[in-house]
């Protein structure tokens, strides 16, 4: 009698589609996956230990390196955490500039995430090339404002490093003209594409009932049908002044997450338009003059969280009154969104594993810290 036994294959850590050094040990019966076990730690550099040796301000450039795809969102979360701990106010114009940068990062991240996921499905980089082209335009804006394209280090406690130059807003307006055309074209290329439907419908399902208990947040949670967006659930900064919708999936499979990300790009564009209308003049200043940068917060702890494009990004800081944080913990969305990966991939084919991982959209800098 022919007996077949399972084959153990390592996908990663050095593999074309694991978004960085991430390894999945899968046991396969023929093509279907019986068990999947994620292995982390290849990019672990003990970011939190490093943060305890630096002063609060010196940690700011290191937060760029967490989720290096959207450094502005990391800066924002860390700045909010320290401002909550030390009780620093932020002037109006700085708040608007901050939200503008974070929403631009969201567009940039989703354009890339969708591109990478379709790339894992096998389309030879064309959707990714379109995404990267839009990303380049946004990175030029970041470079004009903060001085660097990816490692922006643009936020300070109480505001931002420098005010936006005059030619920033006209260029942003031009970009927003191109944005809907790009998203519509991406939909025309992919939305009803039978092959994409075949590869993503009903794959990697995370049902609504179980999604919350896994602690996933961001597009993964919204893809499963739960309209939980921190910008709406617990509005921080000035998000309560903008009208925008929260896209939500119905089944909770790869296709829903793909659609949610595309819809979120449109919503971010809506927010950006409202920001351009409501942007206060420069009289309020781009930084709170009294906010001393070598901050010495009182004893105590604080947790601030932000809706980063990947999910809930939170910083938990404990201060002992000194210039350096006593304890600095990062709640990384990519790391926690990987919790259901093992259960989501059981029963699917090897080809689907890669697509499911792509739909969760992880960045190893944030997972391994």
């Amino acid at each position: 009698m022919i007996t077949t036994d399972e084959l153990q294959i390592n996908i990663g850590p050095q593999h074309p589609s694991t978004h960085g050094v991430f390894r999945m040990l899968i046991t396969v019966d023929g093509e279907t996956v019986v068990n999947l076990e994620p292995v982390f730690g290849y990019l672990h550099r003990n970011h939190e230990q490093l943060a305890e040796v630096n002063t609060y301000l010196q940690n700011m450039p290191y937060t760029d390196r967490l989720d290096y795809f959207n450094s502005m969102a990391n800066n924002h979360a860390y700045a909010l955490a320290v401002e909550k701990l030390a009780g620093i106010e932020v002037p109006e114009r700085a708040e608007y500039i901050r939200v503008m940068m974070v929403e631009l990062t969201r567009i940039l991240n989703h354009a890339g995430a969708v591109g990478f996921m379709i790339n894992d499905m096998g389309a030879w980089q064309t959707p990714l090339a379109f995404g990267i082209r839009e990303r380049e335009k946004i990175l030029d804006l970041f470079e004009m404002v903060s001085g660097a394209r990816m490692m922006c280090n643009y936020f300070r406690f109480g505001g931002v490093v420098r005010d936006i130059p005059d030619e920033f807003i006209p260029r942003l307006k031009k970009l927003l003209i191109a944005m809907p055309a790009y998203v519509d074209e991406l939909e025309r290329l992919l939305r009803e594409n039978e092959i994409l439907l075949a590869r993503s419908e009903g794959i990697g399902i995370l049902p609504r009932e179980v999604a919350v208990s896994y602690g996933v947040t961001g597009p993964v949670l919204r893809g499963s049908g739960i309209a939980y967006d921190i910008r709406k659930a617990e509005p921080y900064s000035i998000y309560d002044r903008f009208d925008f919708d929260v896209p939500v999936g119905s089944v909770g499979d790869v296709y829903d997450r793909f659609l949610v990300r595309i819809e979120e790009m449109r919503q971010s564009r809506r927010i950006l338009e409202q920001i351009i209308e409501q942007l206060p003049d420069a009289s309020g200043g781009h930084i709170n003059p009294k906010a001393r940068q070598n901050v010495r917060p009182p004893v105590g702890d604080a947790y601030a969280r932000v809706e980063s494009p990947k999910g809930e990004l939170g910083f938990y800081l404990v201060s002992d009154g000194g210039p350096k944080p006593y304890r600095y913990k990062v709640r990384a969305p990519s790391f926690i969104n990987l919790t259901p990966l093992g259960d989501m991939c059981r029963g699917y084919k090897v080809a689907d594993i890669v697509v499911i991982l792509g739909s969760i959209d992880i960045v190893m800098g944030e997972v391994d810290r």
Partner: protein, 169 residues
């Protein structure tokens, strides 16, 4: 002390009052002459009472999203503090439950049977701080390689510092 903006009873007082009525034995009352670093107004719960408190928080109070388990090492006071942070899908602020365990034998019951979301949090706390979660099916190191001894994020973990670099010269 995280300040909550809205004036309605903050989730913390709500939790304290609900716990006092339903599960009084779980609450820990702190002596008021604690050193400033570990003085806190948040709700502190006995370690072994967790498996009762958490389902209560999730089902009765509606705080279903376990957002974060943060381990803090107060080495001068000889204790680890685990900060469990819950959010409700309905929105609003966080609900914090703190658990304090002595540094010598840091054993905490695992939440995995109740909440699959706690899997990676607990493995990270074990790997970096050495807090053992009883009942966790595969409590292995998550970042460091398995043969690594010691727990890197503890305050008393030897930081080589400069002489490590200088050995060669």
């Amino acid at each position: 002390m995280s300040t909550t903006p809205d004036t309605s009873p903050s989730p913390r007082d709500l939790l304290r009052e609900q716990l006092a009525t339903v599960l009084p034995h779980t609450l820990v009352t702190l002596p008021d002459d604690l050193p400033e670093l570990i003085r806190t107004a948040d709700v502190i719960v006995h370690a072994d009472a967790l498996p009762e408190v958490v389902p209560f928080v999730i089902d009765q109070l509606g705080y279903g999203l376990l957002s974060d388990i943060a381990a803090v090492d107060y080495v001068e006071h000889g204790l680890f503090e685990l900060v469990y942070r819950f959010y409700s899908i309905g929105g609003g602020g966080d609900l914090v439950i703190k658990v304090r365990v002595p540094r010598e034998q840091p054993d905490v019951p695992s939440l995995l049977p109740i909440l699959p979301g706690a899997r990676l949090h607990e493995r990270e706390a074990y790997d970096l701080f050495g807090i053992r979660f009883i009942g966790h099916p595969d409590l292995r190191r998550i970042y460091m390689w398995d043969e690594f001894e010691g727990f890197p994020m503890r305050k008393d973990f030897p930081k080589q510092g400069d002489n490590y670099i200088g050995e060669g010269a």
